[in-house]
């Protein structure tokens, strides 16, 4: 129970163990623990960053999709408009063409009518003369009444 030199021996043991802990136990373990803590913190930060990036990417892809859809509908609208335009143009051209054909046909018909009239005129005079000749064979001389026939011809 008495205090004696054991005290000194125990103090030496205590000092030795403090020294061992201070030099060989605590620093490496502290380093390992701090490193691990850092690794975990880094990992969590990286995960957080990845999540954010993923969100941004998702947003970007949604934007791109929406843009593409808009563009596509624009293109479709433009194409429809153009098609309508082309149809209109074609319609117009066709009408013009048809009018032209119609006009030329009419002109031809007119010409034909004119020619037929001309021929008819020629033939009417002949027929009239022939008829008159047959009716008036004896009395009428073609040469004596040529001026009357001429004025008749002119009257047609």
């Amino acid at each position: 129970m008495s205090i004696n030199a054991t005290l000194i021996g125990q103090a030496i043991w205590f000092a030795i163990f403090i020294w061992i802990t201070m030099k060989y136990v605590w620093p490496p373990l502290q380093k390992a623990m701090a490193d691990r803590q850092k690794q975990i913190a880094d990992g969590l930060a990286a995960a957080e960053r990845g999540k954010q990036e993923q969100e941004i990417a998702a947003k970007r892809s949604a934007d791109a999709l929406r843009d593409a859809k808009e563009k596509a509908s624009e293109v479709i609208a433009a194409a429809e408009k153009r098609a309508q335009q082309i149809v209109e143009e074609a319609k117009g051209q066709a009408k013009v063409e048809a009018d032209k054909v119609l006009a030329s046909g009419k002109a031809e018909i007119d010409q034909e009518v004119e020619r037929a009239k001309q021929q008819l005129r020629e033939r009417v005079a002949e027929l009239a003369v022939a008829g008159a000749e047959k009716i008036l064979k004896k009395e009428i001389n073609a040469a004596a009444h040529a001026d009357i026939l001429g004025s008749l011809k002119q009257g047609l």
Partner: protein, 266 residues
């Protein structure tokens, strides 16, 4: 019960509470017991030394192979204990010191292991020792006030060193003579300070010694009951697990508090 049959109850108890002492022949009395300062308690020195060497040697070996990866097995356990101590230091000690955490770890681990020797049934080691010719063996080193005082006095000197290192000699002297009542009452402050500082190592040492000595005494008394000790020794040992851990923790915690008081100016 005891190695020497036919002992009285008093003799048995006294035998268990006697250290294995060595000293010069001149210091021995008629019965061969050592007296005087130059006596060494071999059992205290050897048991505490072996426990410390094994524990801190293994921890140092383990620490040299410690990895930052997933800790496994013993590294996990040691890191858990050391992390707990480190957390206490961080919560209490706000200065910067490479010494305080290792000091706290040393105290907690070493005191816990020495206290844990209490859990070995009281007669196992003394009987085994007497078989090889060692007549006295007090197994629990913390029941020897030499050990508890050695630790608390070492802590006391480290505390003074910490004071000097943080505040400088002038700052330390200023604090001793002016806190807490100011410069006008310097002698009172000085006396208060001496009482306060002397009380620290004494209370540290006697608290640990008293708790472990009393616990050991109860174990010895239980062992005296013969067959009836069986239902009693186990519950007391279970309670004692709390006591040994608590005492190790208290010694460590108070040391941290004293260091933090030394490192902070008033």
């Amino acid at each position: 019960m005891s190695a020497e049959g036919g002992l009285t109850t008093t003799g048995y108890i006294q035998h268990h509470l006697t250290n294995l002492a060595v000293c010069a022949d001149a210091a021995k009395d008629a019965t061969g017991h050592c007296h005087g300062f130059w006596t060494l308690h071999l059992d205290t020195l050897v048991v505490s030394g072996v426990l410390g060497l094994v524990a801190f040697g293994l921890m140092a070996k383990l620490a040299s192979r410690a990895t930052a990866g997933v800790p496994a097995g013993w590294q996990n356990f040691v890191e858990m204990v050391i992390g707990m101590v480190d957390q206490q230091v961080r919560d209490t000690f706000h200065g910067k010191s490479a010494l305080v955490t290792p000091l706290a770890i040393t105290i907690f681990v070493w005191v816990f292991l020495m206290n844990a020797m209490d859990l070995i049934p009281v007669d196992f080691l003394p009987v085994a020792a007497s078989a090889v010719g060692i007549n006295y063996l007090k197994v629990v080193p913390t029941t020897d006030p030499n050990l508890t005082f050695a630790m608390s006095i070492t802590v006391f000197f480290i505390m003074i060193w910490m004071n000097l290192k943080v505040k400088g000699f002038g700052g330390y002297m200023h604090e001793i003579f002016t806190a807490p009542f100011g410069a006008k009452l310097a002698p009172v402050n000085f006396i208060f300070r001496i009482v306060e500082d002397i009380a620290k190592p004494i209370s540290l040492a006697l608290r640990l010694f008293g708790n472990m000595y009393a616990g050991e005494m109860v174990f010895i008394l239980i062992a005296l009951l013969g067959l009836y000790q069986l239902p009693l020794a186990l519950p007391w040992a279970l309670f004692h697990i709390l006591i040994i851990t608590l005492q190790a923790f208290v010694f460590m915690m108070l040391t941290i508090v004293y260091m933090s008081m030394a490192a902070e100016s008033h």
